[in-house]
């Protein structure tokens, strides 16, 4: 009980504290934080259209967060989710605009396969470097993100440029490779695909041999090697899954949201980095990730509303996001803190009441 309470507090305290600091900053520049947070919440969660948009925005983020989670869980730092996602999205887009008039099912499937494959291939570079040559994957993936960004920039400016566009952009993907909008909202079939992938990943994490091995490798690499879990091979598998999820995220973002590649395809700080925060918020567990993803994308859609309806710079949300990560990095409340004990008493009381109710 104590552990659960302190775990919950350790997620909520950082969020509250970050919002509090955000409020202080807003007051300092003479704005009304209550109004700003009001718009944030109302437009992203309370309004039906906004809520569906939030869920739509959350879709690729769930995938990048899972991509981060599977690697971080194994104590492998694949910081290259951003790059893998960019390349996956880009090449899914290339398939999207190269073909025209295909059967939508075939076209969409083909684009997704290409996006996923590219994500995997790009993830294999750090994977092989790590598995075969023990090169630090953290630094390599950080470097490769920049290389990937420059590479797609080159492709978007050169070979795959939309000649009619005034800025760096590839042509718009064909109608047949777009995910159709559902319920007059921004939601598309992609969200449903994400949910299916999520269920599969939940299963992988919780119920399979791979999930077991990932947990062991993450918690004690020497132990895993000694008990015959061939860590090198597993590193490659983890990177492949991570890359596939990232590639799928990029492909889905392309085909359900962006429809063409521009230099702001990934947003700021980028779907991969957002995914990292979500994974952290959700403590690398699948269920946690899905809650965190909705919360986080509410922040994103809400921040756009802030830009539209108030004069507070949208960057306030970036500040709040980074503060949340910072505060999340530590345990704010220990299991033995007073607050935990008090809350435990309260919950116990409530639970006991419920129990009585059931018995009667």
């Amino acid at each position: 009980m104590k552990k659960t309470i302190s775990n919950i507090l350790n997620v909520f305290m950082p969020i509250l504290l970050a919002f509090l600091i955000g409020a202080i900053i807003m007051i300092a520049i003479g704005e009304n934080p209550i109004e700003v947070y009001g718009i944030l919440i109302e437009k992203s969660l309370l309004d039906q259209k906004g809520l569906l948009k939030t869920i739509h925005t959350a879709s690729p983020l769930i995938l990048t967060a899972l991509a981060i989670a599977i690697s971080f869980k194994a104590n492998i730092f694949n910081m290259g989710v951003e790059g893998q996602m960019l390349l996956g999205g880009f090449f899914a887009g290339v398939i999207g605009f190269t073909f025209e008039g295909l059967n939508p099912v075939i076209h969409i499937t083909l684009s997704i396969i290409v996006g996923v494959t590219v994500g995997i291939l790009f993830a294999l570079i750090p994977a092989i470097l790590k598995a075969k040559f023990k090169v630090n994957e953290l630094v390599v993936t950080l470097m490769l993100n920049y290389a990937a960004l420059e590479f797609v920039r080159f492709l978007a400016e050169g070979p795959f440029r939309d000649h009619s566009s005034g800025y760096v952009s590839t042509p718009m993907i064909s109608e047949s490779s777009m995910f159709k909008r559902l319920f007059e909202s921004e939601i598309t079939l992609f969200t449903i695909i994400v949910l299916i992938v999520f269920v599969i990943m939940y299963f992988v994490f919780k119920k399979t041999k791979l999930g077991y091995e990932i947990e062991a490798i993450g918690k004690n690499r020497d132990f895993s090697e000694a008990t015959g879990m061939n860590v090198g091979k597993k590193i490659i598998i983890i990177f492949i899954i991570s890359g596939a999820l990232s590639g799928l995220a990029g492909a889905g973002h392309m085909m359900s949201d962006q429809m063409r590649f521009t230099m702001s395809f990934s947003g700021n700080p980028g779907l991969g980095w957002d995914g990292m925060l979500i994974s952290l918020l959700g403590m690398h567990s699948p269920l946690g990730i899905i809650v965190a993803a909705v919360f986080y994308s509410a922040l994103i859609t809400g921040s756009e509303s802030i830009a539209v309806f108030t004069s507070v710079p949208r960057e306030i949300i970036l500040i709040i996001q980074s503060l949340i990560i910072l505060f999340l990095s530590i345990k704010m409340i220990s299991k033995n803190a007073k607050a935990v004990a008090i809350l435990e008493k309260i919950t116990n009381k409530i639970l006991r009441k419920d129990n009585k109710g059931v018995k009667k």
């Binding site: 509250l16 209550i34 109004e35 920039r153 400016e157 005034g166």
Partner: protein, 382 residues
């Protein structure tokens, strides 16, 4: 701890109350800026200046939105009742065509007029207008770039007459100094339109003076990093380039500061930035969004917006594009050089007239034209 929880609960309540009570403003306009943001000291900022002017004159309020989600912002603004929205970002798909089977935003909000810039996406294949409530604005920047090109050559060829010898340290014209550079953010029609006009202007002046010029280009500087502007222009200047024209947002600030450092010349773009590095910026090629914002909003206030064309083109005469008044560079001209300087100014004016009356046609990449390099008799493109 309890206090925290209480605070949250309370704020959520307060928030919901506050948020529900937003009233619609009567007649107010919105400007959705491009990625560079409203403080870019150029393209976006002059649009905001136009709106400010309107506010001062007619009291019509304006709202500026910096966003990464342009379609989302357009929709939210239209939804909340704005009737005139300027969208400065190059992002038209959702507005004009609709994506993923959804209705286009223009169609969804027929009572709102959307103004887009730099392109005309609002045309069907057969040339008819798609949405009556979308106005596209293009600037004839190829023409102003043409003038800038001609000015560059004229100034370089007469540098020894115009300026004090110690003011600039130009590369020797007879060695490799007859070189001019162009730095673009990306390789796209929106950028090459400047470059083509510029190089044609160089060619014109070079031909008139019977000299030959080298033309260096780089279209990969991006729009965000002045450092890359500084380094790329440095390589150009080190290779003998005496004037660098940059069309790449704040990248140009890096170029201008490099020009200042090396005592050469730079040409800026969008707004009048001549005074940023006095004496080092030859001129700025204006893309003055203030003019269309002001004019269109005025039409909107007068309820004559329906009379406007769906495609507005702003040429040299409109004042929305052109060169600056050259006041900053003129300060560098010595007394003895003034005669020559006035000669050059007259020459440029002649060229402007020739463009206006159609004697000279400048390649317009914006409308899909490509540069025919064989016409560049006196320029070698490197």
């Amino acid at each position: 701890m309890k206090r925290f929880l209480l605070l949250t609960v309370l704020s959520v309540f307060a928030i919901s109350l506050a948020a529900c009570s937003k009233t619609d403003d009567a007649k107010s306009i919105a400007i959705v800026t491009s990625a560079a943001g409203q403080n870019d000291n150029g393209y976006n900022e002059s649009a905001v200046d136009g709106a400010k002017k309107i506010k001062d004159e007619f009291g019509v309020d304006y709202h500026v939105v910096d966003t990464t989600d342009v379609p989302g912002a357009l929709e939210q603004l239209a939804e909340s009742g704005y009737e005139l929205i300027f969208s400065l970002e190059y992002n038209f798909d959702a507005l004009v065509n609709g994506v993923g089977g959804a209705k286009s935003i223009a169609e969804k909000y027929p009572d709102t007029t959307f103004v887009v810039f730099n392109d005309n996406p609002n045309l069907n294949e057969d040339g008819t207008v798609k949405h009556e409530n979308v106005i596209s604005v293009v600037f004839d920047v190829h023409e102003s770039s043409y003038l800038a090109g001609a000015l560059s050559v004229s100034v370089l060829e007469n540098a020894s007459t115009l300026f004090d010898a110690s003011t600039y340290s130009f590369a020797d014209l007879d060695v490799d100094g007859r070189s001019i550079g162009f730095i673009g953010g990306v390789q796209s029609n929106g950028i090459t339109v400047f470059s083509y006009g510029f190089v044609e202007g160089i060619n014109r002046a070079a031909a008139d003076l019977n000299v030959n010029y080298d033309y260096y280009t780089d279209y990969s500087a991006g729009f965000g990093d002045p450092v890359s502007g500084s380094t790329i222009s440095n390589t150009m200047y080190q290779n003998g380039v005496n004037v660098v024209y940059s069309v790449a947002g704040v990248v140009g600030d890096g170029v201008a500061s490099k020009a200042n450092e090396l005592d050469r010349l730079a040409i800026q773009v969008d707004a009048n930035k001549d005074a940023d590095q006095p004496g080092s910026i030859l001129t700025s090629v204006l893309k003055n969004t203030e003019v269309p914002v002001y004019q269109i909003t005025k039409a909107f206030i007068d309820e004559k917006i329906g009379d406007l064309d769906n495609a507005l083109s702003y040429d040299l005469d409109s004042g929305a594009t052109g060169m600056t008044d050259l006041a900053e560079i003129e300060k560098m001209v010595t007394a003895s050089g003034m005669t020559k300087w006035n000669e050059i100014k007259t020459y440029i004016e002649t060229l402007a007239t020739e463009i206006a009356d159609g004697t000279v046609t400048v390649t317009d990449a914006q409308s899909g034209e490509t540069l025919d390099t064989t016409t560049l008799t006196n320029v070698t493109v490197k």
